[in-house]
């Protein structure tokens, strides 16, 4: 725990380095017509027919052109993107990465501490929260700098920055919501009952989250309206407040010992 601040700064610097690299890049999400069936007539004619040449080469002799085949082995007829695609991809690959990192880091921690994993893993929740918060700050700062309030200039914001910002926010949000919901539901009377109804309504609208993700990840995301009170809350007051609470917690933890 003593080394936590140094470690957090270190992780933050790495993330910042990557963020700067990403920020200099440009988003290039491929926009494609959804699920268009291939032109079978043309394909079979080309495959069997003598020759239709494109710049001197038989078209059938070439693999599908780049704009039709972003992943050579996965898509014959171009990439099919639905509103569920980005979220399902993040879920599948994220779950894989999470399982891998969880397993490897679990063994690492066990070798290093030689203590029971059973009791160790809970200590890391606060660290994970802190790391996610730092991610939020870094990616958020980049987004603030990249975005412009005029509608004429369309700045292409790197997809990865948006994805990280959005993804870590969702994890933090779900963690916070889940915890507070669990706490709020403990006493079972009128208010928790209505809260329950409300929460189920929100979950019922999950497609809205998917839509949102789609917008954030793939569509030409338009610049939000000029700074408003809500915006100021979002980028200034609430983060500063959270940082304040977190620093109080960390100071208390350091003073009073790690776990007790």
């Amino acid at each position: 725990m003593k080394q936590l601040p140094r470690r957090l700064i270190f992780i933050g610097l790495i993330v910042l380095g990557f963020a700067i690299i990403f920020a200099t890049g440009r988003g290039q999400a491929t926009t494609l017509p959804e699920g268009q069936p291939p032109n079978w007539d043309k394909i079979s004619t080309l495959a069997g027919g003598p020759s239709e040449t494109v710049s001197g080469e038989n078209l059938a002799a070439l693999p599908p052109p780049a704009d039709r085949d972003p992943c050579l082995h996965c898509h014959i007829a171009g990439e099919i993107v639905t509103e569920w695609s980005p979220i399902s991809r993040w879920l599948v690959f994220g779950a894989m990465g999470f399982a891998f990192i969880f397993g490897i880091s679990r063994n690492f921690i066990v070798w290093r501490t030689r203590e029971l994993w059973h009791f160790r893993w809970m200590y890391h929740l606060s660290r994970i929260t802190a790391i996610l918060f730092i991610l939020q700050v870094i990616t958020g700062v980049i987004l603030v700098f990249l975005h412009s309030s005029t509608l004429e200039i369309i700045v292409q914001i790197p997809v990865v920055i948006k994805a990280i910002h959005w993804g870590s926010a969702v994890v933090l949000l779900i963690a916070a919501l889940g915890l507070s919901l669990a706490g709020a539901l403990l006493p079972w009377y009128q208010r928790p009952f209505w809260a329950m109804l409300f929460v189920t309504g929100v979950i019922g609208g999950a497609l809205a989250i998917a839509n949102l993700s789609f917008t954030y990840l793939y569509a030409e995301w338009h610049i939000p309206p000029p700074p408003s009170r809500l915006y100021a809350f979002h980028v200034l007051l609430i983060p500063i407040g959270i940082a304040g609470i977190m620093s109080i917690i960390f100071i208390m933890l350091r003073k009073r010992g790690e776990t007790q």
Binding site: P38, I43, L62, W111, W117
Partner: protein, 637 residues
């Protein structure tokens, strides 16, 4: 600098090229095919994914659509075929050959089945794509084309292939994702942990055990519970994947004992899993929520097996992941001996002899120089000078049979006019036996005693009459602050012969000795210190009709006397020396030559218990050499 270079070279030679895996040819080819197949597929898939806007700005915008693309397709198909052939060999090995030394648990099958389904799903996807597009360049995707041909025979049409392609892509991705996600939880973890252990394994000589620092102050000596192992040791248990290469060469397992280095490491890994990673929680937890971690030896591991390992190091030279079972054995023994006082009676007796009489034989220390009666041997006193300090060792000083060997050696040294001396009564046992039996304290006391004497005498180098003393003085005394040039007598004699100071055949008439002779490699001389040539050179110079045993050099089979086993009561049915003697009988040799007092004794015992003294005899290489030289002298007068 070496601390950085060694891990890097080890990573390339052992983790990537996997030189140790090639020591066995069938598993070597099998692992090569699977490893490089998967590696190429992973790299290829990464290149493929780079075309998507996943890792901006690391994106390939204009992936070539001809030329290199054909090469890419061909390579990827080849890699897939590699995997299929590799897993085919693995299935054949597990289902038909069924080696006993292999672990057979669920995740072995899981990994193999996953590795079979992955390329099959991939090739099916590719085949469906080829059926739909049917391009002339399909030949480059040769395996995909074969699959496409099969599916066409089954009646798959381009129209239906589009749908199948989508389905199989999902299956293929799902299998790939499952593969990566299950790495930390199945035997696949060796993909990460074995290279890590290859980088992190201790770089001290394999003959040197780890020193217990501040032995007077330390409260915990050795290892009783799994949590008391070092981080690197815990990592090495995770790196083991039960391939059984250690068990194939282990003299204990081969002689029918229940100890096996593979089972030991598996048990340690199991204890780590149960106690540290996923405690069962079936009432183990006491009231404050702390799960009681059991003692390893006794509660989870058979105590008897702990006292079987001869520390011969055969497993150390084979393990592709650089796990070191004998060191875990000694750590566990240390705890049993020093903390619990719990050991077999014969071990206790030997240790008591060392404590009281200063030697494992339990002979009175005043007999230490009896062997030198009638010989021209100088006893060195503090402040004396000599070119060579002869460290005789307890075996040569107290064992009747081995006294003859050192007497021969001294006569040869005198003949070659070497300026040498012995410590006489000041010489203490080197402490090797105590250290291997786990009594680190006796070892450290004896080592300090010897180093103190060594420092009072002016000498160029130490020559030992025993590979065990040799290994301890050379590799372990530096830990105690005694860094000297140490030689085994075989190196010394080989040097004297090549310098012309010892002439083996003055007359051309000297005949080759009758009868076949084979040299038995001592573990502590060969495997631990890489001395294979010198003893053989001496035997060749001695004009012997030398042949090799089937297990020789690095693959030599232990005599059963190392690691304190010399003094242990053993089951007559599983004696290692009988097994080794059988090797010599199978080679139809008349004489076995050794360069180690323990080997000599163990062979003698085996010859006596098998009653084959008329067929075979055992002699030390010094005796063989001396006989030859005196024969030569006799002929030339």
């Amino acid at each position: 600098m070496i601390r950085i270079i060694n891990p890097i070279t080890d990573f390339f030679t052992q983790a990537l090229l996997q030189l140790r895996i090639w020591k066995r040819i069938y598993p070597g080819i099998m692992h090569f095919l699977i490893f490089w197949g998967v590696t190429i597929q992973v790299i290829g898939t990464a290149i493929n994914l780079m075309q998507m806007a996943l890792f901006t700005p690391f994106a390939i915008e204009n992936f070539p659509r001809s030329g290199w693309y054909h090469f890419y397709e061909f390579t990827m198909d080849l890699a897939g075929v590699f995997i299929l052939i590799g897993v085919g060999m693995a299935f054949y090995r597990r289902l038909v050959m069924k080696p006993k030394t292999l672990g057979y648990s669920w995740d072995d099958w899981y990994a193999l089945i996953l590795l079979t389904l992955l390329p099959l799903a991939g090739f099916t996807t590719e085949a469906m794509r080829l059926i739909v597009v049917d391009p002339p360049w399909a030949g480059y995707s040769f395996a995909g084309s074969v699959f496409a041909g099969l599916y066409r025979l089954l009646g798959v049409k381009p129209e239906s292939a589009v749908g199948w392609q989508q389905t199989f892509v999902i299956i293929h991705i799902f299998l790939g994702v499952t593969f990566v996600a299950s790495i930390p939880f199945t035997k696949l973890r060796h993909l990460v942990f074995a290279p890590l252990n290859i980088i992190r394994h201790p770089r001290r000589a394999i003959g040197a055990l780890e020193k217990v620092e501040d032995i007077e102050e330390t409260e915990l000596l050795g290892v009783g519970k799994i949590t008391e192992f070092s981080s690197q040791q815990l990592l090495s248990f995770d790196a083991c994947l039960r391939c059984g290469r250690c068990e194939e060469v282990c003299p204990c397992t081969n002689s029918g004992m229940s100890y096996s280095p593979r089972l030991l490491i598996t048990a340690l890994h199991g204890a780590m899993l149960r106690s540290l990673i996923s405690p069962s929680g079936n009432g183990d937890a006491s009231e404050d929520g702390v799960v009681a971690i059991p003692e390893f030896v006794g509660e989870t591991y058979n105590e008897h097996d702990l006292w079987s390992c001869t520390t011969c190091g055969a497993c150390l030279t084979r393990c592709p992941a650089f796990v070191r079972p004998p060191e875990q054995v000694v750590d566990l023994r240390r705890y049993q001996v020093l903390m619990m006082g719990n050991m077999p009676k014969s071990v206790g007796d030997t240790l008591r002899n060392m404590e009281r009489q200063g030697n494992p034989w339990g002979m009175p220390p005043e007999n230490r120089l009896n062997w030198a009666e009638g010989l021209d041997v100088r006893e060195l006193a503090p402040g004396d000078e000599a070119d060579v300090l002869l460290f005789v060792g307890c075996a040569a000083a107290f064992d009747e049979r081995n006294k003859k060997v050192v007497q021969s050696f001294v006569r040869l040294l005198n003949k070659a006019s070497v300026d040498f001396g012995v410590l006489g009564f000041d010489e203490a046992c080197c402490g090797e036996t105590a250290r291997r039996m786990g009594h680190e304290y006796i070892f450290q006391v004896m080592a300090e005693q010897n180093i103190e004497i060594f420092n009072q005498i002016h000498f160029q180098r130490i020559v030992t009459a025993c590979p065990h003393c040799f290994n301890t003085l050379k590799n372990e005394y530096p830990q105690m602050g005694g860094d000297y040039e140490v030689m085994h007598y075989s190196e010394m004699l080989s040097e004297l012969i090549s310098n012309g100071k010892l002439v083996t055949s003055k007359s051309a008439n000297l005949q080759m000795a009758n009868g076949k002779l084979a040299y038995h490699d001592s573990c502590y001389l060969g495997r631990y210190n890489d001395i294979y040539k010198a003893p053989r050179e001496i035997l060749d110079k001695a004009g012997t009709n030398r042949v090799e045993l089937s297990r020789k050099g690095e693959n030599s089979f232990c005599c059963g006397g190392g690691g304190g086993m010399m003094w242990m009561e053993t089951d007559p049915n599983t004696r290692i020396n009988n097994r080794r003697l059988q090797d010599a009988l199978d080679a139809r040799v008349d004489t076995v030559a050794t360069a180690c007092p323990y080997c000599l004794t163990m062979f003698d015992d085996a010859i006596r218990s098998k009653a084959v003294a008329e067929q075979i005899q055992v002699r030390d290489i010094v005796e063989v050499l001396e006989a030859r030289i005196s024969e030569s002298d006799r002929i030339t007068g």
